[in-house]
Symmetry: none
Subunit: 192 residues, 4 copies
DNA sequence: GATGAATGAGTGTTCATTCAT
DNA sequence: TATGAATGAACACTCATTCAT
C-alpha cells in the first residue's frame, strides 16, 4: 500500500515535468522502484493513474478554495486571499500545481472527461469569486469602476501566469506575492 | 516546395494542440496530405521539424519585438506596446503563440538546445525591456516606486497568463487588452 | 471444498466457450467468485486445471461407454446405443461435451500428455466397438457388406459432427437422434 | 507484396493448428521470415489479419459452392456433389478447411462481425441446398420419406464431422468419400 | 483455506526512421 | 521530389504464477 503512494508521487513528478505523453509507465515504475505491472495492479492504466492523480490534486485544491469563504473586512482582502492561496499551493506542492495549470493531454480533453471537468470547474469557481468581489467592491465604492468580467479574467490570467513561472524555477516567492498584491491593490482601490 | 510549407503549417497546429509528444509523424503527414518519408526529406526528423518551427516562430516574434524600439512620449507607452504586441501575435497566429508560451518537450529542454535558448532569450529580452522602462519611469517620477525586478516578472507573468487564456478560446481580445493596459496604468502611474 | 468445485464448473464453462487460450485464470476466478491464488491452491496451474477437468469429463464419459456393454438382440442395437449415449451426454453436460470433441490446446497436444491420450483412447474405443459390431453384423447377414473401417470412421464422424452442432445451439435433440438412427439403420440393414 | 502473402499463408497454418488465441503475432512474423511491424503495415491488427483470412477462405469456398449449381440427372447427385466439394476442399487446402469448420475466436463471435456472418451464411446456404434436394427427391419418389430439416442437419453434421477428421490426419480420402456417399445413397434412395 | 501484493515474461501494437526505387 | 515497404526500439498492457500472511 505504501508502494501505491510511491507510484503516485513519482507519477506526479514525472507528469508535471515531462507531460503525460512524454512520460512512460516504465519510467514511472523504475523511478518509483517497483515493476511496471504493479502500476496496473493499482490502476486500470496510464490514463486512470493520471485521472486519479488529477482528481486527488484538484480535491485538495478545492478544499483550500472552499476554506477561503468567511467574513473579510473588505472585498480586496478576498482577492488577496486568493493570491495567497495559490502562492501557498505552489510552495506546498510545486509539481501538483503544474498539473493543475497545464492543459489535459489531448486524449483526455473531451468535455465528458473528469479531467476536463475539473479544470472547467476550477475556472468557473475562481471567476465566480472574483467577479462577486469586484461587483460588491465597486458598489460599495471600495474599488474603482472596472469591467468586472474582463478584470476577473485578467486576475485569473495573472495568477496562472505567476503560478506557472513559479513552478518552473523557485524564486523568492514572498516578494513576488507581496508585489502582485500591491500591484493589484493600487490598480483596484478607489483612492478618493 | 508548397508541400513543405503544408507540413510545417500542419505540424504547428498539431504540436500546439496536442503537444510534441502527443503528435506523431504519421498524423502530421496524413493531415498534411503527404506521406511520412516526405517529412524526412525536408527535415532531419521530428525533433528537427519542431526545432525548425520554433525557430521560425521565434524569428517572427523577435522581429516584432525589435520593431518595438523607437521613441515614445513616456515609459508607460513602452509597456503598453508590449501588451499590444502580444495580443496582436495571438490574434495573428494563435497556434504559434501556444508553442511560444508552452514549455519545450522534455527531450529538448537541455540548455544547449536552440529551443531552450530561444525561450530563455525571449524571457531575458522582455524582462530587460520591462525593467529598463520601470527604472526609467521611477527615476523620472512617471511611475510610483515599485520593486523593478519583481514587477517586471509580474508583468511578464500577466502577459503569459493572458496570452495563454487567449490561445485556448477566442474571446473579445480588444476589451481584454484595454482592461489589462488600464489595470497596469492605474497601478504603475504615480498620480501625485 | 465447495469452492474448488465452483472453480471447476466455471472453468469448464469458460474453456468450452472460449477455448483454453482464450480463457484467463483471472476470468475463471472472478466468474467463480474467488480470488486467483485459490486456483493455485487447488491446482498446480492452468494446465493442471484443464488436465484435471478433461480427466474428470473423460472419466464419466468412459464410465458410460463401458456401461454400454451387455447383450443386445442384434448388432444394430449396439450402434443405436452409442448414438443414444452421445446424445444423452450432450443433453446432460453440454459444456463438457464441447471439451471432449474439441482439440486440445496446442501446448497439450504432445502424445505423452494425458489429454492427448484421453482423446486417442476415446477414438480407439469407439472405433473398436463400431468395427466389431459391423464385422459381426456383416457376418451374420444383419448388415449389408460395407467397408468396416471406413464405415466406423464415418459413424464416428457423424456422431462428432452432430454432437458438435448440438453443443452450439440446443434444438430438439430427440428428433435429431431418431432421424440419425433411422438414417443409419436404412443404410446398414440388409433388407432381404 | 510477396511478403504479405507469406504472412497470410503462415497465419493460416498457425491459426488452423493452434487457434487464434494460441497464435502470437511474433510467431507468425518469425515463421514467415519477416518482422512483427510488417504485419501491422499490411493489416490493422491481429483481428484484422484473421478476418481478412477468413474472408478470403470463405470467398473461395463460396465460389465453389455457387459453381455447384447446374442440372443434374437426379437429386442425389446434388448431394453427392456437396460431399465431393468438401472432400476436394480439404484436399486442396487442409489448413483453410479447419478455419472454416472451427468456431470463431470468442471475441469475434458477435453476430455483427463478418466472421460470424460468414459462418452463418455457409450453414444457411448448405442447409438450403440440402433441404431443397431432399424435398424435391421425396416428391418425385427418388428419396424415401425422411424429415427434411432434421436430415439436412444430419448431412451437414456428417460433412463437418468427416471434414474435421480429415483435417487432422490425412488418410485415404477417396475411400472415405465413396463410403460416405454410398452410405447416404442406401439410406435415402427409395428402392421400390 | 484463502488473499492482497507483487512480478518475469510476454502480447499486441505504435513510433520515428530508413531505403530502394 | 516523392513513396511503398520495411524495421529496431519502445510502448501500454496482460498473463500465469508466487509469496508472505
Amino acid at each position: 500500500m505504501i508502494r501505491k503512494q510511491t507510484i503516485i508521487t513519482t507519477a506526479i513528478k514525472l507528469f508535471a515535468r515531462q507531460g503525460f505523453d512524454g512520460t512512460t509507465t516504465l519510467q514511472i515504475a523504475t523511478e518509483a522502484g517497483v515493476t511496471e505491472p504493479l502500476i496496473y495492479y493499482h490502476f486500470k492504466g496510464k490514463d486512470d493513474l493520471f485521472t486519479h492523480i488529477l482528481g486527488e490534486v484538484f480535491g485538495s485544491y478545492f478544499i483550500r478554495l472552499e476554506a477561503l469563504e468567511g467574513p473579510t473586512k473588505n472585498e480586496f482582502e478576498k482577492i488577496e486571499r486568493i493570491f495567497a492561496l495559490h502562492f501557498q499551493f505552489v510552495e506546498d506542492m510545486p509539481d501538483e500545481t503544474l498539473l493543475i495549470v497545464s492543459a489535459c493531454p489531448a486524449k483526455l480533453r473531451d468535455p465528458e472527461n473528469i479531467c476536463a471537468q475539473n479544470i472547467a470547474r476550477q475556472r468557473k469557481l475562481l471567476i465566480g469569486i472574483l467577479m462577486n468581489s469586484l461587483q460588491t467592491g465597486i458598489r460599495t465604492g471600495e474599488f474603482c469602476k472596472v469591467p468586472t468580467e474582463a478584470t476577473a479574467n485578467l486576475l485569473l490570467g495573472l495568477i496562472n501566469g505567476l503560478v506557472r513561472q513559479r513552478s518552473f524555477k523557485m524564486e523568492t516567492l514572498e516578494e513576488m506575492r507581496a508585489t502582485a498584491v500591491d500591484f493589484c491593490r493600487r490598480s483596484l482601490l478607489a483612492t478618493a
